[in-house]
């Protein structure tokens, strides 16, 4: 079991600070995903938790015990690396046995644990092979096996799917989800792929520029993004973010007309950001209808859905999802409407969410 508390974690490399004070409270048995664009600090944060890099400021506690100065091998943490990092000169069995031997377990226990892991990960046939004789997916399973035999309180995975081909990726993703349930431990998973984050996580930490933008369940992130960064990062295609001006209960988009919406945020600010997901927008060719005017760029037919990309009068590109197989030629003038209750509002100055 592992319950983690990170308070005010900072990390600098020389004069450059890459993490600016991270506070997180992670519960036992949770599956946590760190997600964000490259360079956001998610892998750095993972390495600080592992102990591979030292924490510049702040405190990391695991089950109440301060970890900052504890060596990585004594934290009860196992890690699966992006490149798998198997020892090239050892066969699969030795790769898994290396760490547990150093833990001082007796021979029978080591053999039992490796047999269990081999069975769980379907490695039985491969135990005598060297890493270079394995496929990418097999190496990955060995890397996970090597982590599991140590029975860690906390399992860290650093972009584990990024070296696999697309077909394998969703299979392995399911396996990892199942593994987390089976081993009953706490897992932290780093990825830049929001789909992986949404499908795997109990809670997601969205990071950007060395800060946590939002920490919550996939559903919270999708339904109540805390700011425009999270709003745009979670969900595909992206949420449209429109710089609108408010006049009473009307929202105007320069060069595109205006529309009225109920339940606007109770705030004096005139300049807002209106966020709408593709499935909350509708489109009509009735140019007299109330809404934002624009013209069709491109229609993408996907069978069950059609995405229509429209450039609005102020130049913003929005995507609209419809279930009907509408066919609109490029340059068709259209009016885009927003479904009531589906809009998100953000402050133009702070980019923070405004309560409706």
């Amino acid at each position: 079991m592992a319950q983690l508390t990170l308070s005010g974690i900072k990390k600098g490399f020389g004069p450059v600070e890459v993490l600016h004070g991270i506070d997180l409270e992670i519960k036992d048995k949770e599956f946590i995903v760190f997600v964000g664009p490259s360079g956001c600090g998610k892998s750095t944060l993972l390495r600080l938790i592992a102990g591979l890099d030292t924490i510049s400021a702040g405190e990391f506690r695991m089950n109440g015990r301060r970890m900052n100065e504890i060596a990585p091998s004594r934290r009860g943490i196992a890690m699966v690396f992006q490149s798998y990092a198997l020892y090239p000169h050892m066969d699969v069995y030795e790769n898994m046995a290396f760490g547990v031997r150093l833990m001082g377990l007796d021979k029978a226990e080591i053999e039992r644990r490796i047999a269990d892991a081999a069975q769980m990960l379907r490695l039985g046939e491969l135990l005598k092979r060297k890493p270079r004789e394995l496929s990418g997916g097999q190496r990955q399973r060995v890397a996970i096996g090597r982590a599991l035999v140590r029975k860690p309180q906390l399992l860290l995975l650093d972009e584990p799917l990024s070296n696999l081909d697309a077909a394998l990726r969703s299979d392995v993703r399911l396996e990892i989800a199942k593994l987390h349930r089976d081993i009953q431990g706490t897992t932290i998973y780093v990825t830049h792929d929001q789909v992986e984050a949404m499908t795997l996580a109990d809670r997601i930490v969205v990071m950007n520029n060395g800060r946590v933008e939002q920490f919550g369940s996939p559903r919270e992130l999708y339904e109540r993004p805390a700011n425009t960064f999270v709003a745009a990062f979670i969900g595909s295609p992206r949420m449209a973010l429109l710089d609108v001006e408010r006049q009473g209960n009307r929202l105007g988009l320069p060069g595109s007309g205006s529309l009225s919406l109920t339940r606007l945020p109770q705030i004096d600010e005139r300049e807002l950001v209106l966020g709408v997901r593709p499935d909350s927008l509708t489109i009509t060719t009735d140019l007299a209808a109330e809404g934002f005017k624009g013209s069709v760029i491109y229609t993408e037919y996907l069978g069950d859905n059609t995405f229509i990309y429209v450039r609005l009068g102020n130049g913003t590109l929005v995507s609209i999802r419809t279930a009907d197989a509408v066919e609109l030629a490029p340059d068709t003038p259209v009016v885009v409407q927003v479904l009531p209750d589906a809009a998100h509002y953000f402050s133009r100055s702070t980019r923070e969410r405004l309560a409706a």
Partner: protein, 306 residues
Amino acid sequence: MHGSPLLARRLWITALIVPPLAFVALFVVYPIISAFAYAFFQWHGLARGEFVGFANFYKVLFTQPYADWTVNAFLNNVLVFFALMVLQNGVGFLLAYFLWRELPGAAFHRVAVFLPVVLSTIIVGFLWKLFLHPLFGVVNISLRGTGLGSLAQPWLGQEGTALWALIIANAWHMVGFPTLVFLAGMQRIPGEILDAVRMETESEWVKISKIVWPLVAPSATIVFTLLFVGSFNWFELPYIMAGVDGSPHKATDVLGLYFYRTAFGDQSGSGQDFGAGSALAVLIFMFIAVVAGFITFRLRAREIQI
């Protein structure tokens, strides 16, 4: 014409291959073979006498005083090889490890360790003769200056210390080479593998012996082989520092000096025997070729693809 491009190509290849082949044949293969041949003849100065079969080999291996000299020189070479294995390759490995771990000052030390390698052996020999001078040498002066004057001694002048002094001078000179090769081998190890080890142990010893050392084995093959060849061909440094007689009292005599003396005469120019010298050269060559081949073959087998 149908065959002409092919013919032109063949001419080109011939023109490129023949000159270097002729050069190697004339200046490498021919001398080796003639040394082989010389070893089977009797020599009167530089004039070839009659064919004597294996008499020259028998002479250097089984008749006195040659047999004792041969064994003495060979054993000295063996000592040099094992001592340098520790002092040059062993220390080189440790230096490489420290440089690789980027301890403070690594950038400076990387240059400092390698600098002596580019010095000429002549310079190194004279430098160390000065260092080790019984009266004015920096070694004895330092010992006296630090109250260890009782340890000051004529390092190159006594049988017990002379060979070791040469070994240390050689290790100082060449330690940068294995360091560089090992360092390159270490830098090939992916960072994530080292992180993976750190997740499993904090013991530096386990890390070196179980992970780093096996993974730099490919570098070790070349370093070991070259050290073996270098140790048994050792000539310049003993020649410069101890002289052609391997003084004092043949304590620093090695196969290289012994061969040279036998073939071309000692300090006084006497005792020249080209036949016995050639026989020694052939024996040394065969020994080095066979053992070096064996080392390379055996060590290659345990090299690892990263």
